[in-house]
Symmetry: C2
Subunit: 512 residues, 2 copies
Amino acid sequence: MPQLGLLHGRAWAVLFGQLRRPPGAVCIRAVHSHSQGQKYFQVAEAALATQLKPHQEKSNFIIKTPKGTRDLSPQQMVVREKILDMVVSCFKRHGAKGLDTPAFELKEMLTEKYGEDSGLIYDLKDQGGELLSLRYDLTVPFARYLAMNKVKKMKRYHVGKVWRRESPTIAQGRYREFCQCDFDIAGQFDPMIPDAECLKIVCEILSGLQLGDFLIKVNDRRILDGIFAVCGVPESKFHAICSSVDKLDKMSWKDVRHEMVAKKGLAAEVADRIGDYVQCHGGVSLVKQMFQDPRLSQNKQALEGLGDLKLLFEYLTLFGIAEKISFDLSLARGLDYYTGVIYEAVLLQTPAHAEEELLNVGSVAAGGRYDGLVGMFDPKGHNVPCVGLSIGVERIFSIVEQRMKTFGEKIRTTETQVFVATPQKNFLQERLKLIAELWDAGIKAELMYKNNPKLLTQLHYCENMGIPLVVIIGEQELKEGVIKLRSVASREEVAITRENLVAEIQKRLSES
Amino acid sequence: MPQLGLLHGRAWAVLFGQLRRPPGAVCIRAVHSHSQGQKYFQVAEAALATQLKPHQEKSNFIIKTPKGTRDLSPQQMVVREKILDMVVSCFKRHGAKGLDTPAFELKEMLTEKYGEDSGLIYDLKDQGGELLSLRYDLTVPFARYLAMNKVKKMKRYHVGKVWRRESPTIAQGRYREFCQCDFDIAGQFDPMIPDAECLKIVCEILSGLQLGDFLIKVNDRRILDGIFAVCGVPESKFHAICSSVDKLDKMSWKDVRHEMVAKKGLAAEVADRIGDYVQCHGGVSLVKQMFQDPRLSQNKQALEGLGDLKLLFEYLTLFGIAEKISFDLSLARGLDYYTGVIYEAVLLQTPAHAEEELLNVGSVAAGGRYDGLVGMFDPKGHNVPCVGLSIGVERIFSIVEQRMKTFGEKIRTTETQVFVATPQKNFLQERLKLIAELWDAGIKAELMYKNNPKLLTQLHYCENMGIPLVVIIGEQELKEGVIKLRSVASREEVAITRENLVAEIQKRLSES
């Protein structure tokens, strides 16, 4: 980012011609007794004194953004806008409404919702009043909203920032401030229909963004709990063992087993029994196989989970996406609030794209069913069953940015259609009148903020910024009542009468 | 908001038919040994126990959003999206690039930038690490960005939330969390050209949003300082007196004078001399009059300010907006960082609209020149002159929402184009296959998440939600290879062959 910003600044400086003045000097403009403001620099002593004060005081501080955060440059903003538009239009295609919640919540609203991750919540300073925390995800605020307003059914999307005090590993695209794009369906419905739609949405978005091949791992919290029960894990250790299993995407079974036995005090034979299950993955046939499993088929919770997964696969087949889904018994998901089906989409790295191998992308979407969360907020414990998904847009942003860099794609950071230029000195008034006409006609237009810019500088700026059209006005044109319209790409110029200019520009823009 | 949310929830409940179960009961779905999931409710004792725990614990807490904040309902989100789109498209029309900065900054970055308002900054808790504060506006982060990346020229817009610990007076539409829309031009240019463009942008946005008549008050910090100097205010009291003058839009001169004399220790005759100036307002003729003022014309700073204003009026005349501008010597603006021209747009309440009188709207846009702010961040004190504006979108949102309420305008909160319905039992599979086809063709479609919904319920939902088209599939249609397409408005139905359905829907949607 700093590099991009720097480049960007340099480009402007080169284009506009940078003015220099002595360090610490303050620019005070002279009185413009003549209307065409001549300007000069003047070191005003009083102003200089106030200027130097902050300078001296800050000699020790480094100018930066907070740890784990960053600015988004105009180039990055363009990429983001395109991706977010695509994600939101998919959410709208599925009938979702927009919703927004505050950046912070009462601290007690977030307490006991995230399990082991709670230590990563940002708290606000107690400045007298309520104890507040920055939101950690968009799911808990959504559940709070439902309970607070007694909403029993809602399909909503929410795009917003969340904050987590994680050790930032910026190379992997993980930040302490990041954007989430959530879609959730709340309400009591017939089983697995909303759940299947969530998986369909993940498929539509990942296909639509052309991120390459992907796979959605699916599991169910009740199946995991059933496995732990039939393998002999004491109920008090379910959470701890679940979070060990969750590490199987980054650690080998050998290491996870070691953690279970050495750190979490599980008997070795119990761990081995778990290992037999959680190393399985497959399609709907694995669901059927687990139904026949002599131990698991004795567990009520596991059977409920398996029954739902069977139905889910049926719906996914009707949606034409069953081949993208893998029943993966190692999938556990970190967050505490899931109660049923859980899923996580991962990009598959085809070794053909050698240049992309360095970028470890991992999971790009995840979600699941959380039927108990709303009840935790409701004064009477009334529940609203929910299922939802979150698109890992930050990782998607990194992938797309990386790809654009690899292919050397140039991004336009402005949408300017027309530049108003002049070859003449003292033509500012004419340029201002002209550009106001264009703006008032809804045309995106720019000019140089100088009284007497050089024509070449103006034309170079258009080429560099990708502005397609230039309107040129000079003394000759003014006399003849015409304007020159120049195509930047072809360098062709035509004379157009002043009154036809807007129509001609609109015609050209609609054709391109 | 709560009311809207409630209504919203009720609407859904009525439409979908709400399922009831005993309080505290948890819905556990049965094993679906048959694929078409039959469901029943079951009170699972273990689950019930964990359910009751949070319920008992939270008996003392009230579920709410933090003081001065609120959720934004789907209805509000629709209004916001439209207004923000309009504002951003104006910023883009003027060649601005997008930029985003983190929600929080290092605390020291915000220190000494806001004057008296600094006490309203939200600090984050010290959790080991850097001391952080939530951003108070978008201007200081922009200046920090410019200095950090050594950007010397940039035209950027930024739409984002900011946070201020103000006493919330929610009736006036003031919140502790609110959205700002900023446009700024940084760089050393010929005088008053970017400043004039900023005022043009304010006019375009306020006209475009059709908020009624408005006026932009303009002044210059150097003129105010000049007035204080020639009236005999000691330099140490400039800031305090400036903030008293700033209150003239809400308080009478008599009360402001009293504050100056009684609270800020100004001599009565000095206050009276100030009063002669700050009660003046007018057009460019007032600028000329001030040039002739025997005292003010002796002050260098004031003359510089007056010279710039004269030039500004010239450019505003070329832009065709001079009649919207009032040179108002009482305009002071609270923030410390302004150094030159300042402005504030206010809506003019025409007494004709009696029903809108209760809504006190005040200022809806403001800004000015801040040539010293970037230098406060730069290690060597190098400055980048800046001028910018901020649109008070929160107030605009309230006005538009109020107006829609007054005129009883109904807002669609979803964009769904087609609803997939059936009159038949056990037709879920066909509906799922059909809706997937529509989604894959980019058509916005919904269905009911029930195995056997009633046709009337489905059609009522479409009418209530404003969905224009319904696709109906039943046994008869399946046999004949057709689908019924129904227009919700006219209630006309036509049979269409299955393979022509998508094309026919797209044709109808493009026509409407």
